[in-house]
Symmetry: C2
Subunit: 219 residues, 2 copies
């Protein structure tokens, strides 16, 4: 139990379900981001900001151990949001995502966010059929998280560094964390934002728009 | 894999090892706190502060997925600290703790801190033989964590609310989170602190000293 074993029957079942999800996403030209970060790093706040400030047709599947609080916050901003309560589960599985997809109008969705359970460990090794994994860091967590969770950050094509408004009040070496991200995953895109203050989202808006165009060209 | 199963052979092995640890702690009159919180909530900073400001004879076992960075920080403050790298493991096990205990001078230790892997889910259901579970929250994570992780907070006899120095810069309802803690675990002790600024530790110092006396009376 000390290490996530990806060779178990359950992991095999996950891989099959992930492939099925991926086919469905490709057929419907939906760009899918699996968002992984600590509890309270601001995954939901980033989606709230995106819901209010983007014309890209988005939807979200939101995993939490308990409550649908985060999904409700996103719904309040008029982005379709579908909660999955995992009970004791510390990560989402491809099977859970697959069973939710029947409820989502994929034809009318350009970008699907999967907000994973707040956890930097197990979510990193469970493929959900996504296009990319997205790491969400936040300034008050400290600047050593990339080194401490190399499994995750070796797989993230996008990293948000959130809560930049707290930089004047925290010891945080931004250059170091950016360097660590690029070492772990060369070519990673880094968005430095404050979701609650609406700061730094220009590059993110361009990135989303670029992906929307690519998806819509296919539709 | 979606839910931690406590009825597996591995879980049975953990329960046996936890009992063995507990016996050893009692024989040596060591008070043991299993500290559980998100990555970056400040578990290590609390131990750094304690190392520098307490006369209680403490030691720490420090779990991390990768690196011994946190154990090194505590060692630098002259508290004996023993790192456990879990590899991909998202929580510490009683077997891992047991194998570390041979290296610790329990006769000369009044309080042993076990800093678990940063994660609010799986560590909450793995008994390590500790006296109490201690939840560590931090202000910038937001004030809904107790409701979202009820499994953990129904078992915590002590809760730290750290990074109170950031209260002026975050939306955080302190009364609500305290109420949630007390609802989840009646009688819970709550310490509101800022570890990096050294604020609010008076009650914690008294609590540690009280426990030291109890342990030393037994030795």
């Amino acid at each position: 139990m000390a290490r996530v074993n990806v060779d178990t029957p359950a992991a095999g079942k996950n891989a099959i379900a992930a492939e099925k999800n991926r086919r469905l996403f490709r057929e419907n030209h939906v760009f899918v981001m699996n968002m992984i970060g600590s509890p309270g790093c601001g995954k939901t706040s980033i989606l709230e900001y995106t819901a209010e400030n983007s014309n890209v047709r988005c939807a979200a599947i939101v995993g939490d151990v308990k409550t649908a609080l985060d999904a409700d916050r996103i719904l309040d901003r008029n982005m379709p949001a579908y909660p999955i309560e995992t009970g004791g589960g510390c990560h989402l599985t491809a099977v859970q995502i697959g069973s939710m997809l029947t409820r989502i109008d994929l034809c009318k969705t350009d970008c699907l966010f999967i907000e994973n359970v707040g956890n930097l460990v197990c979510p990193s090794v469970f493929d959900l059929g996504e296009d990319i994994k997205t790491g969400v860091l936040s300034v008050p967590e400290g600047d050593e998280k990339v080194r401490k969770y190399p499994e995750l950050f070796s797989r993230t094509d996008v990293v948000f560094i959130n809560k930049t408004d707290l930089l004047p009040h925290c010891e945080y070496d931004m250059e170091k964390i950016e360097r660590d991200c690029r070492t772990a995953r060369p070519g990673v895109k880094i968005f430095k934002v404050s979701a609650t203050k609406g700061l730094g989202f220009e590059d993110w808006a361009r990135y989303l728009e670029m992906n929307r165009k690519e998806q819509q060209n296919g539709k």
